[in-house]
Amino acid sequence: MTALLEVRDLVKRFDTGGLLRGPRAVVHAVNGVSFELAAGETLGLVGESGSGKSTVGRVILRLTDASAGSVRFGGVDVFGLSAGELRAIRRRMQIVFQDPYSSLDPRMRAGSAVAEGLEIHRLLPSAEIPGRVAELFQEVGLDPSFSAKFPHECSGGQRQRIGIARALAVDPAFLVCDEPVSALDVSVQAQVLNLLADLQRRRGIAFLFIAHDLAVVRQLAHRIAVMYFGRIVELAPTETIIRTPLHPYTQALLSAVPEPDPARQRTRIVLKGEPPKPMAPPPGCPFASRCFHPMKNERCVNELPPLRAVGESQVACHYAEYSLQPSALSHQPSASNPQTPTPNP
């Protein structure tokens, strides 16, 4: 069965500077990203700031133009569509934003915001729109009376739900969730995460869940892709990547996630060195300058490791088969030193 979404070798470069705007420079935000997403599946896209994860989401939806690569949605080449065809396919691929405060038009009532998609695509006669809007509000757990409210009259969690209802109105098959809970309070995060999980179960929507918080991603994602410097460095089923991360960056990321249990503090891998500048991508592995893998050598600095299969995972590391044992990185009450690497089965 063909996947719902196929992304191949996506590249996005931003040109900055030029005439009267400062020195010319090219920022390589996305440097060759490929993955597939099946219907009803959640792929978590994790990375820190500058990793390019948000850009990936926008480029897939053609909210920004890609510099190279292709995206096939339901078998259709998204980048080759005309404006009219793009508008039609936009129904099927929607986005939920991070900031509940700026993702809604401050001058529009919630009901109008949610109805916008219905109006644009003429999905219902105008008389039926309020009814449908009320249903959508209920589906996201809001009382239909919220229709009349302005964004500033709603809390962050409520605004986020309105944004989700807006995206759902056009019945999408694919939803890009760009850090949807990062700006919310802890007690509200859980509500929205549960809502997204329910929606997936009920409607069979596929999610590309972009976040920096691995613990949050873990709740919803079937598979997780870790991005570093515009590339995917590891892609694996959720449990696999959390229990046995193979790429050193993934290991460092996992070790840095705060553990809410004082008795089970992880030894944290503290990364030394500086990440490469976005303007100057190195020829080899972008993580080489900070990598702590015992087998790191010249090859890493000069030769870009491809994303390749290692067991259940895909890893972009020359020495993934020799990655550190998980036990060296798991919860230990005392500090432990990295062990001599032994090949993984």
Binding site: E48, S49, S155, G157, Q158, D185, V186, S187, V188, Q189, A190, Q191, L193, N194, A197, H212, D213, L214, A215, V216, R218, Q219, E239, I242, A252, L253, L254, S255, A256, V257, P258, E259, P260, D261, P262, A263, Q265, R268, V270, L271
Partner: protein
């Protein structure tokens, strides 16, 4: 360890929109001893940031600290100080590290200069000596290449380095108490760990007391000696970190634990806390958590629960802990 800082019944009043008065901080009491880290945990709207500002008498107008409150730093009531004496406290005895380094740093002055300015304001160092002290401070906070980075502007630095610069400024007056208000919220996870590590080291090497304010329980777990949980302007639970995490005594704390995603996947489905955080001009009557409490009793909506002492330095505001309350 004697008490360095003691806050008794801190109350901050603001005029409410429809007339009347609201108290976003409503009876907060804290103790902080030298060499320890106290974490003040709460969601937005709990009043934790205002509490931090109050300690430095920086409550924004029209907010006013209730005169019945007491903030005592080594025997001196800070609320009675004026002018020079008050200025000396700010930065000199109590330092404050803000959350967002990008907006807290002056964008048109180099970071080294900003540190030097603070040094010169608090110590009797001038000119070259102040500059050298500034470089030493930048070094102490782990700024690589401190003497070169002295001339860097905030926008030229990464988030983590900016935060380090902010910490250096906070330390410039050689404070005894360091308040860190969400010092890592805007930072990446790998950098967060570094900054918290740094704060820990500084606490030990300088013998300071640290008040760590955060909304993230996970952050706090490995870093604090004691935790105070704040909800709706009050501290609802205070305990040693290990006790809090092992057996939280307040329903809000328990509910928080149930709702946060864990990396070890202990929960299959998160249990959110129903409802929303109340606003200061509409605190629920009696127990402020009662409308959302999964363990609520009839009494909770009628009578304000007392502060129940549990162990030395530990308390909780809940009827469930009072014998015979059910």
């Amino acid at each position: 360890m004697s008490d360095l800082l003691e806050v008794q019944d801190l109350r901050i009043r603001f005029p409410a929109p429809g007339g009347g008065v609201s108290c976003p901080v409503d009876g907060v009491s804290l103790r902080l001893a030298r060499g320890e880290t106290l974490a003040l945990v709460g969601e937005s709207g709990s009043g934790k940031s205002l509490t931090a500002l109050a300690l430095l008498r920086l409550v924004p107008p029209p907010g006013v600290i209730d005169p019945a409150s007491r903030i005592v730093l080594e025997g001196v009531n800070l609320l009675e100080l004026q002018g020079e004496a008050l200025r000396a406290i700010r930065g000199g005895r109590i330092g404050l590290v803000f959350q967002d380094a990008m907006t807290s740093l002056n964008p048109v002055i180099s970071i080294g200069e900003q540190v030097r300015e603070t040094v010169a304001a608090h110590r009797t160092l001038r000119g070259k000596e102040a500059r050298e002290r500034a470089i030493a401070l930048l070094d102490e906070v782990g700024m690589p290449g401190a003497s070169t980075r002295y001339r860097a502007y905030p926008h030229e630095l990464s988030g983590g380095l900016r935060q380090r610069a902010l910490i250096a400024i906070a330390l410039a007056g050689e404070p005894d108490v360091l308040i860190a208000d969400e010092p890592t919220t805007a930072l990446d996870v790998t950098v967060q760990a570094q900054i918290l590590e740094l704060l820990d080291q500084l606490r030990t090497s300088r013998g300071m007391a640290v008040l760590l304010i955060s909304h993230d329980l996970g952050l706090v777990a490995g870093r604090a000696d004691r935790v105070a949980v704040m909800y709706a302007g009050q501290i609802v639970e205070e305990a040693s970190t290990s006790r809090l995490f092992r057996s939280p005594s307040h329903p809000y704390t328990r509910a928080l634990f149930g709702s946060i995603p864990r990396l070890d996947g202990a929960v299959d489905r998160l249990v959110p806390i129903a409802g929303a955080v109340p606003l200061p001009d509409a605190w629920p009557p009696a127990c402020r958590f009662h409308p959302r409490c999964p363990e609520v009793l009839a009494r909770c909506s009628i009578e304000t629960p007392p502060v129940v002492p549990l162990a030395p330095g530990e308390m909780s505001r809940c009827w469930l802990l009072v014998k015979g309350a059910r």
